[in-house]
Assembly symmetry: C2
Homo-oligomer: 314 residues x 2
């Protein structure tokens, strides 16, 4: 079987489903990952969602947090404190290896896509992990405290400021990468799955990359999204809070509406079955909370089956 | 008392005497440190002799090795290995904080001198630690295995290749820094002490900095050197091996000859008292092997007393 899938994903929540998809599909999966959260810190290029994806798929991830590395040490941060360096963004000692290597290779002129591919291979990750852009695109959060870079909003200010608007600086300079275009043009492609990531913070940046939304639309396969909202609440992170601040009712209906025109199907949590009639596209019900690896694999299989059904194959 | 001293130093051996001088002189000591060993590794600027000096004077140094930090962890190197990164040069997790901060600030256009000064203050180091140059000057080792950068010779090839010639690339572009010139022009200056570092690898690069040798010569104070060779052997490192390869008899006499014209006095180890008559300058005998802090302080006091004597003050 050579049926291939493309997933669109952000950080922790998206990576969970990607891990399930990876178990089912292996190298038949390509993951387009948000890089709007990327930033330079201490002169190092940090790519949080790409890293979370790589660590999750390689089994290196810290199972307590869902990001960073397991068995991490923090000697660097303690020494940095002794030098009077900034403490608001934690860089683990092992995690630093990835940032240092990526920074070195970016400065040597290599693309983030090429570097990420090599790291994935070195870590034994079978799916292709494709950054949404090789040009820097920065998610900027306009808040009641002023304009904040994403990590300043997310980490330094712990998502506390009220979000007024989100924008993606540099998007106009970006372009869909050849690797993403190839994945979306692959004749073996059978479906596109929008992971249960934050639509506004994690998926919108990706859809802002010139050419990407059009290439998704042109792909002649089912496109589905998995709800990141269950019973009006986000499993993790500020999705529901941000929706409220943007004047959007924080429920799965609003997420499906947000993806209108992009998707052919929506995976709604079983707890929200009563909302089915209000979802403006075909609905599949599933247990979308992924606590265990089995949960992740089951949801992955449900997504693949849904795509097959939408394509008239099942 | 405001009598000030300048020390010229390389790595581990020199730093031991600097620690002794630091205990006696505190902020009345300025240390001009070799930067010929500096190199870029993984995109990070590493300055081994400056680091060894800072770690030794702040008490952070690893007492087992004389370089690097005590209580160091190595998670970064293990993670780097997992990514297929180079393993020949070990960067400890805590040590990385200094390299990352220095690299960031150098790329922002700050001088190595300014950065080193701030780090010294943050670490509570009282003496001024002055890199020999703010422009990159690289010690290059011409060997029977070809031309090697210093760290490639010293660390990667463990000093095994036969040295044919040493050169200091970029020296012509360097210039004595304002901070070193000020230290040497200070009216309170009472002496200049060449530490027991490798004359060819650690002190010669420093003397190659345009203007530095002349400024040393112009300073109207006694200049002394402490032998790095005891009984024909180096306390540590490849000094004796390199002297042999360069066709020089590895003894204290050759070291004193090497510094002819620069120094007014030479501190010879008590074990080598029989060589006194062959030293071409005034000799002081001392126990130059520094095992304990008391040894370091005693040798520092001996050096200061020797300068006072040469100046006719004692």
């Amino acid at each position: 079987m050579s049926a291939r899938y493309v997933a669109l994903s952000g950080g922790v929540g998206g990576a969970k489903l990607c891990l399930g998809l990876s178990h089912v599909l292996g190298d038949r999966l390509s993951i387009v990952v948000n890089t709007g959260d990327d930033f330079e810190h201490l002169g190092l290029f940090v790519s949080p969602d790409v890293d979370t994806t790589l660590y999750t798929l390689s089994g290196l991830v810290n199972p307590e947090t869902g990001w960073g590395r397991r068995d991490e040490t923090w000697t660097f941060m303690r020494a940095l404190e002794g030098l009077g360096g900034p403490q608001w963004f934690n860089l683990g000692d092992g995690d630093l290896a990835l940032h240092v290597e990526r920074t070195r290779r970016l400065k040597a002129g290599e693309t983030l896509t090429a570097i990420t591919g090599d790291v994935a291979r070195a870590l034994g990750v079978k799916p292709r992990v494709l950054p949404m852009s090789d040009a820097p695109i920065a998610t900027i959060v306009e808040t009641d405290e002023g304009v904040l870079g994403f990590q300043h909003y997310f980490v330094r200010r712990r998502c506390e400021p009220v979000v007024k608007r989100l924008r993606f600086d540099g998007a106009e300079r970006g372009t869909i990468t050849p690797e993403i275009r190839a994945a979306l043009n692959d004749p073996e492609l059978r479906g596109i799955i929008v992971c249960p990531s934050n639509p506004w913070l994690s998926i919108d940046p990706l859809l802002a990359v010139p050419g990407l939304r059009e290439a998704l639309a042109a792909a002649p396969v089912p496109k589905i999204a998995v709800t990141p909202i269950i019973d009006g609440k986000a499993v993790k992170g500020p999705t529901a809070k941000i929706m409220g601040e943007l004047g959007i009712t924080p429920d799965a209906v609003a997420v499906a509406d947000h993806y209108a025109g992009l998707i052919d199907g929506f995976v709604l949590d079983e707890q929200d079955a009563s909302l089915s009639a209000r979802i403006g596209t075909t609905v599949a019900l599933a247990q979308t909370l992924m606590r265990t690896l089995d949960d992740k694999i089951a949801l992955a299989q449900r997504c693949i089956g849904f795509c097959e059904k939408l394509a008239g194959r099942a």
